[in-house]
Amino acid sequence: MSHLSFEELSQFIDKELPNWRVAEIKEHIDNCPACKEKLDTLLLIDQSIRETYKEYNTEKFSAEVLERVESKPVRYSFRLKLATIGVAISLAFGITFGFLRSTYRENLEEEKYKLISQHYIISSGDMGIIFISDK
């Protein structure tokens, strides 16, 4: 009777062998103390590894993860808010400035045509009316 190999015993405890082979191995182990001992040793090692599984403080872990998850969107939203406020101020300033400028120009043009209608123009150019005299 040949003994079972280490590989086969390993696959046996991992349930990775076909049913027919499992039945043969079970029968062999019942009749072979040496293989039974090898199998017991492997089972003991597996069991000992299971016992190394640790219990961690999952509440602390969870709190830390949630804190990190929550803090990221807040930072993002703060930046977004800052950018939005900046754009809004620029727009308001731009619109107001534009409006004031066009009102000023309209008034200036109006005054200019008023003067032209009341005076003779001697000379004019890009810089404006150089000289006028009363009609």
């Binding site: 016992e51 599984y53 640790k54 961690y56 872990f61």
Partner: protein
């Protein structure tokens, strides 16, 4: 929170996809221990395992919308964990040691002397648990992780192959080798146990 504890994963995931943080908290409560344990095995230290596990759950929160609700949640998180750990190890070391498919059939030899974890040292340990922990930590990383996925995560060889992106033959050889190494490292302790029983 009681309401959430009674819900299954699928229901919780649906809630998380809508931004429900309480549901996310419940998912963390359910799986964080397993994820920290797994990450610790891959990274080789509890602190690093803890940190990587946090990154994993943050990544889950960010990417949950892409998760296919018809699939099981835990294998997805486990895969993220394995990838995150190997990615971190690759980033740090930048060489082959940490790659997912760095396997070698039949090496290293179990007779390689390991001064830090010699059988004599292990023999001196009073607690079997401590001796096993040290023996496990002294295994080459890819052997330790494969054995862990088999024994603790209870994955089949095929599932391990999928998770680690290696072939089944490699899984078998890693598990055999890991068990042989464990047996060798614990030999004196195990003999002692036999004699005393």
């Amino acid at each position: 929170m009681k309401k959430y504890r009674e819900e299954n994963d699928t229901e919780l995931i649906r809630r998380i996809q809508k931004g429900d943080e309480k549901a996310f908290e419940e998912i963390i409560r359910r799986y964080s221990n397993r994820i920290i344990n797994l990450a610790t095995q891959i990274m080789g230290s509890q602190d690093e395992g803890w940190d990587i596990a946090q990154e994993v759950f943050i990544s889950v929160w960010k990417n949950i919308k892409s998760f296919d609700i018809s699939k099981n949640f835990y294998p997805w998180v486990r895969k993220i964990t394995v990838n995150a750990c190997y990615e971190e190890l690759r980033r740090r070391k930048g060489h082959i040691e940490s790659s997912l498919d760095d396997v070698e059939e039949g090496e290293p030899s179990i007779d390689v002397p390991d001064d830090a974890y010699s059988p004599e040292d292990i023999f001196d340990k009073i607690e079997l648990k401590e001796a096993v922990e040290e023996a496990l930590n002294s295994l080459p990383k890819h052997y330790r992780v494969t054995l862990w996925l088999r024994i603790i995560e209870n994955l089949s060889y095929e599932e391990i192959a999928e998770t680690l992106e290696i072939n089944i033959g490699t899984v078998k050889s890693r598990i055999n080798m890991a068990r042989k190494m464990m047996q060798d490292k614990l030999k004196y302790y195990l003999e002692e146990k036999d004699e005393s029983s």
